[in-house]
Amino acid sequence: MASIKAHNLSIQFPVYNAAHRSFRGNFIKVATGGRFSSDLTNHVYINALDQINLSIQNGERVALLGHNGSGKSTLLRAIAGVYYPTGGSLEVEGSISTLIDLNQGMDADATGWDNIILRGLAMGMSRDEINDRKNEIAEFSELGDFLAIPVRTYSSGMKLRLAFSVSTSSPRNIVLMDEWLSTGDASFSEKATLRLIDYLGKASILVIATHSEKLAMRICDRIVTLSHGKVENDSPVNSPEKDFII
């Protein structure tokens, strides 16, 4: 059973400037008995998330809506475990897949095959698991002999295909997405959409940050609107079509 429970969750980013980051600044602070402390330790903070209360149960498909800087991505990253709450609490149960940056871990100079391993490891898969799945991944990507040459020679669509194929190869309980994935040319895009639907179908919870209300209404059964790091609105979608066809 997967679940996400946030209670008064706050995330505060410190804004560092060179003075805060330098050793000298901190040294002067000690050496002068704090005389300059008002200049040097007046940290500026940004409240990216401010007292969020949110409980997501098994089976829910949640869309996060909101303007740029409203805290959508930060919330995704907090759920992923990147940012530990600076206030309140956050409990997440279940294995997580973050489809935020599909290229993370990939190396342009390595071959397609090597990149399957690299991306797989970055997703937290073991070598054995990658070996078990690599043929399926290769087949789905339709890259054929291209897999034997460096990724830097690929077109951007081909790169995306490979990244997508690896990223969606290992099912997880919780899937976190930053915008819907669209991939390559028309024929592959259709195939990818089907695979994504299947992938999401195996997951217990989907949280997707998006700007598109239309998309949210279509695939999610709950819409959470964030504004300035607070939950502005949290409402169910009455009749989600859940057909995922974009």
Binding site: F13, P14, Y16, A18, R21, S22, F23, R24, N26, R77, A80, G81, V82, Y83, Y84, I96, T98, I100, D101, Q104, G105, D107, D109, A110, D114, I117, L118, L121, A122, G124, S126, R127, P150
Partner: protein
């Protein structure tokens, strides 16, 4: 019982820190493969590849070895062996420490994607430098066999020496990485310190050459670190003092690593 020795809070910090370490070690698929991959990648399109390390170290040892053996008026065969063993070990130590400084910042993209155990990055960088050491060691082997004293039975003691040295390096790497992530001037400071330490450590020169100032190199932990590899290679067992100093440092640095990881691992992502 332990509450008498340290507060519960401190115990928790250390436990979290060790948790990070054990998890990291367990994901060896990751750091073992990726560390190797990093080296392969760096030289992907070059003909000599990582043998460039061997070649450039070889040129360094040949030219400077010849020069300084004359400056110091030492037999060429002996001096070159001493210098080769010393410089290769030093390159391993200093290369690793220099790169640990960026071992968190260079993986920013990765860290911002998922929950991360940080010790794995230090392990990955260690693997890189272990591979470089392996390539550089060929220079030591050639020098020892062709112009130097050859290898005696004592040389085998360099293997446990390498294991102990590695343990110390791994525990130094994490504090360096954390400080350098929080304070962005630290990598430069560490770089400069290492440059100075190189000249202060008996690598080009020998400890006995500085006469009554020999206590400086006796108390220099980097001298002990180089010695536990270099001495056995030259056919002499390392002194108990070298081991003692290194074991004490391992104990201190292990605690520092666990404590820093326990205290700051939840903050590190915020510093990036």
């Amino acid at each position: 019982m332990t509450g008498f020795l340290m507060s519960e809070k401190l115990q928790n910090l250390l436990r979290w820190g060790f948790e990070d370490i054990t998890h990291s070690v367990r994901t060896r698929d990751m750091w073992l493969y990726l560390g190797r991959q990093d080296i392969k990648m760096k030289y992907r399109r070059s003909v000599l590849g990582p043998w460039w390390y061997t070649l450039s170290t070889g040129i360094l040892v040949l030219t400077l070895g010849l020069l300084w053996s004359q400056v110091f008026n030492q037999p060429i065969g002996y001096y070159m062996s001493y210098f080769a063993a010393g410089i290769v070990t030093w390159t391993f130590i200093s290369g690793f420490i220099t790169e640990s400084a960026t071992s968190i910042t260079q993986f920013e993209g990765f860290i911002k994607q998922q929950y991360t155990h940080f010790f794995q990055f230090v392990l990955r960088i260690y693997i890189r430098h272990l591979l470089i050491l392996a390539h550089n060691f060929l220079v030591v082997a050639i020098v020892f066999l062709f112009v130097g004293p050859g290898f005696s039975f004592e040389a085998l003691a360099a293997i446990p020496g390498l294991a102990i040295l590695s343990l110390l390096m791994l525990t130094i790497g994490t504090p360096v990485a954390i400080f350098c992530t929080r304070f962005r001037d630290m990598p430069q400071i560490i770089n400069n310190l290492l440059q100075v330490i190189f000249y202060l450590t008996p690598i080009i020169w020998e400890a006995k050459q500085i006469g009554r100032f020999q206590f400086v190199s006796d108390w220099n932990p980097f001298h002990a670190m180089v010695s536990i590899i270099r001495k056995p290679l030259l056919g002499e067992l390392p002194a108990a003092w070298d081991f003692l100093m290194i074991f004490i440092l391992i104990a201190i640095c292990t605690l520092a690593t666990a404590w820093l990881l326990g205290k700051y691992r939840r903050r590190i992502a915020y510093w990036l």
